[in-house]
Symmetry: C2
Subunit: 584 residues, 2 copies
């Protein structure tokens, strides 16, 4: 038996007990006649004490030899600590060691195993197994485990069945690029790894499974960037005999359950916002509503003056920055520089200060008088002391720019408090999205999403106007989940594929199995998928997902530690080549 207690367990009530502990040496203080060692495990830290008077000489020597991260087992007596440490749970006691065994030695770690470490990102990633010993990472992984389990409890209680769908599947294009897996048994053929279990969960609904969920890895062979991993985890759900309202209710319940169980936060009924309103008011389909700063459209209020920039703009839009009149000229110039960065792409920014006395001072006083500016303030909701920032240009572009500015200023103003949770449903998404490069429409959610009742006919004439039974769950400016009511009849699905540019033959080859299934009694159904990585990070109050993934990949897709992928040996390469050759 390696231990009778964990290192986080001993209290004053254990005084005089003999205990056995195992763990890592966090640090030791050697005063010569006395040595204190902090022993750490997953559960906490306990102070060990060795002293000349009570510890045999040989053991004193051994204790002196203990380096950081040595793995040791000790037996000893719990005694009261002279100087108590109120900062740790075991701070009332220490263990006077009577037996010390070094279970394993350790090289000096390349960074300190402490909450605030001296190790940079790269070195911490390379030695991820050491990084995981640090509380911030360890606690994040434990937090993720708790979130997963609470998801399972909630959904199981609601009658959902956890069904595993296959990982080696037929490629069914869903927007991103598939990872492929050559099949040795079927030369020249390949499996794909699922981008999501979408078609399988729909087949489960055709199969009468009624309520399905799975916490499942999904794969996209896309270029990596910050916070996007080639493999990611999805909470995948589907229900039969449901309308949008049923789904919103269940998954609002799930989100509320998580906020309560893991964050101890109670949240009111989630507000709902039309996609069109989200774009109009926040320039964004995943608005952060922890703070205001809603867009005010200023076209009417700015036209017919001599300011050509606004007159020629498709959209003139402003936001009120609370307390922004306090910005110096230099600070405002900085903001203007910020919006002109290539990543944001605005050509410039007009602003109007709202003085405490209610007068205005703008960067375009030449064109707009006090009355005009009062209207700007009214439309954007600016109050005395605020600053109105105005951008103009093509609607889509200027909305994106203003949305970026809004988020940036809110960040600077401390309005994005990770301890505040503001969930939001965004509903009535467009069915199709125009790819401006190709001029083709593609499915905004995915090709299985149903149009709103009665809008199917619009597909021929105004495809961009067709709304879908599609919804996103947004939390603090992040899309944490999204879903739709699906098409469940073959004819509608065929029409959709046609509009997405599939020939009849292509649709049949790629999705024939699903359309065939629709002919054997497919029930109305719909679902939702949460991105677990991001959900956990947001609930955990973090900006990035990396601490919540035990072994993340770096930006070149390599495992942080093992530096995968590995090059295959020649035999394997030759076999693969052979398989390909047969096909060509």
């Amino acid at each position: 038996m390696y231990r009778s207690h964990s290192c986080g367990e001993l209290r004053a009530s254990h005084i005089n007990n003999e205990v056995t502990l195992s763990g890592w040496v966090q640090k030791s203080r050697d005063k010569g006649f006395m040595i204190w060692v902090d022993l750490r495990d997953r559960y906490g830290i306990t102070q060990l004490i060795f002293d000349e008077e009570r510890t045999p000489k040989e053991m004193m020597e051994k204790a002196k030899s203990l380096g950081r991260e040595f793995v040791v087992q000790v037996t000893g007596t719990v005694i009261e600590r002279e100087s108590k440490n109120a900062k740790i749970a075991t701070g009332d006691v220490e263990v006077l060691v009577s037996k010390l065994e070094i279970l394993n030695q350790a090289k000096l770690p390349p960074f300190t195993i402490e909450d605030e470490t001296d190790g940079g990102e790269d070195i911490r990633m390379k030695y991820r197994y050491l990084d995981i010993r640090r509380n911030p990472v360890k606690d994040s992984l434990i937090f993720r485990s708790k979130v997963s389990m609470e998801v399972r409890k909630y959904l199981t209680d609601k009658g959902f069945i956890d069904v595993e769908t296959p990982y080696l599947i037929k490629s069914t294009p869903e927007g991103a690029r598939d990872f492929v897996v050559p099949s040795r048994m079927n030369s020249g053929q390949f499996y794909a790894l699922p981008q999501s279990p979408q078609t399988f969960k729909q087949l489960l609904m055709v199969g009468g499974m009624d309520k399905y969920f799975q916490i499942v890895k999904c794969f996209r062979d896309e270029d990596l960037r910050a916070d996007r991993q080639p493999e990611f985890t999805q909470i995948d759900c589907e229900m039969a005999f449901v309308e949008q309202e049923d789904i919103l209710e269940i998954f609002e319940g799930l989100t509320r359950h998580l906020l309560k169980e893991v964050n101890n936060v109670e949240v009111d009924k989630f507000p709902r916002m039309l996609y069109d309103d989200a774009m109009r008011l926040y320039g964004n389909d995943k608005p952060d509503i922890r703070f205001g700063m809603e867009f005010g459209e200023l076209n009417a209020a700015t036209q017919h003056k001599d300011f050509g920039v606004f007159n020629s703009a498709e959209l003139v839009v402003g936001i009120a920055v609370p307390g922004g009149n306090a910005y110096t000229r230099k600070e405002i110039d900085n903001i203007i520089k910020w919006v002109k960065r290539p990543q944001v792409g605005a050509l410039g920014m007009i602003y109007a200060r709202v003085n405490e006395d209610g007068t205005f001072k703008s960067s375009v006083d030449k064109f707009y008088d006090q009355e005009d500016l009062a209207k700007w303030a009214e439309i954007t909701g600016a109050k005395p002391g605020d600053l109105v920032c105005v951008l103009s240009g093509d609607t889509n572009k200027v909305r994106a720019q203003m949305s970026a500015l809004r988020m940036e200023l809110a960040e600077r103003l401390g309005l994005r408090d990770p301890k505040v949770f503001a969930p939001l449903w965004v509903i009535d998404f467009p069915l199709l999205e125009l790819d401006e490069e190709t001029g083709h429409y593609h499915a905004m959610h995915h090709p299985f999403t149903s149009p709103k009742p009665g809008q199917l006919e619009l597909l021929d004439t105004n495809p961009g106007d067709v709304k879908a039974n599609a919804y996103d769950l947004v939390l603090n400016g992040n899309e944490i989940g999204g879903g739709s009511i699906r098409i469940h009849d073959k004819e509608t699905q065929a029409i959709m594929f046609k509009h997405l540019g599939f020939t009849e033959q292509e649709a049949k080859e790629q999705f024939g199995f699903l359309m065939d299934a629709f002919e054997y009694g497919a029930p109305p159904h719909g679902g939702l998928a949460f991105g677990l990585d991001r959900l956990v990070a947001i609930l955990g109050g973090q900006e990035t997902i990396r601490d919540f993934i035990a072994f993340p990949k770096n930006n070149s897709g390599r495992d942080v530690m093992i530096d995968a992928p590995a090059v295959l040996d020649n035999t394997q390469l030759k076999e693969l080549s052979l398989q390909l050759a047969i096909e060509e």
Copy 2:
């Protein structure tokens, strides 16, 4: 709202309520003036009634049009049934329909959606979404979900953390062949899919995670055969600061928890058996101990007579078949034919009848007298009325043959009752196994398994004799789990790799990351993995795993329904070729 109740919910207490139900038409009986329809969903079946007197004519016509597996929604009043059906939970009531909507039509299904279906295996697999509507498959999937959840509950309660390990990893050979995944971002390089998260869970232990579990898909690119899928699910666990005893206790507890929660069966403390004893007494490292028929070794009792077959045999072994004296000569000839089948491979079988009066009649009376045969009976435990079956030959072969015969006869005698659960720990497995073809030793469990204390030295002289800290959990003759205490220091691990035929360079390239980790304070650790597919099948009282997998693959690795894998298109093939070309 598609339904107020499920089809399994209505009882006499609902009489006179107005309800809305949705589901599939199981069947309908049309008596002209009256139509009964059985409406089915995941939860049960409810009888609907339409009759000339109370149902509008138009609706009668619509009801007449309903075919099997049509998806319908009805609203109506719950009424008492005239002829109650005690066989179903809703059998006291029926619903007099006032509103009928056909939500989706259905083509005639290719087999009947009933517990005993008329569809053969192939057709049921092709239309798996229809097969899943049948109770045996549906209930199996629900059963699996329950088992998974109970595993999670037990382990979470015990402090285990669910940590997701990566699926796109570096290839680390573990016996079977890896599936590989070309990386688009790293041309010429490939990920492998994990055969198990073995190295990752060990790194988590080095990382101080202490208790880890995961229910995780694993992949082996092996030839398929019955009940072996290229992707399978593992309950994967690892603990730090543990000895074998700690692990057996936790996972015996898990198994007992499952038997109680999902089978309502209480089981005593699991017996433990040495590997050597299992081989000697059952010829098998996963003995089915629901019944006796233990092997009796008869070498001493059969030598020095004139029967050359036994004299020259390395092993002469017998079992007592309870009541086997009742077999006719023809039946015994049939058994002899059975053991001579190429799949079993015995050259013949000697037998001795134990008559009710205690006398014997054997097939080798020429060589062995009554006294000799009495010894056979004593050693095999045969009683009057039994039959002693004896095989002889090379020890390994004859044990395998006798084990097969024992299982076959037990099956015929009805001794393998799927409702009886006889778990067993088999412990002290050999560390290494001799590959008789190549003459090389390989790791019996895996290269990370630790030898028993003090046996490391034996590796040089008697490698086959070294025992490992390795254990299997056996249930009803199936290995449902296996694990070991791992090596946790670099030196021992290096010695192991050397004995397994790795050069120092190979060991470093393939497992360097793990051995490096061992230098930074690796705790003693060990673990166990359960094969979920088989565990669920055995708990569910089934011989095969197929009903417990939603979308199994057939023997050529193709998805039963979607007929994956698919051939990639030319662009994808060309890119892959290019990647390979760069490497060559």
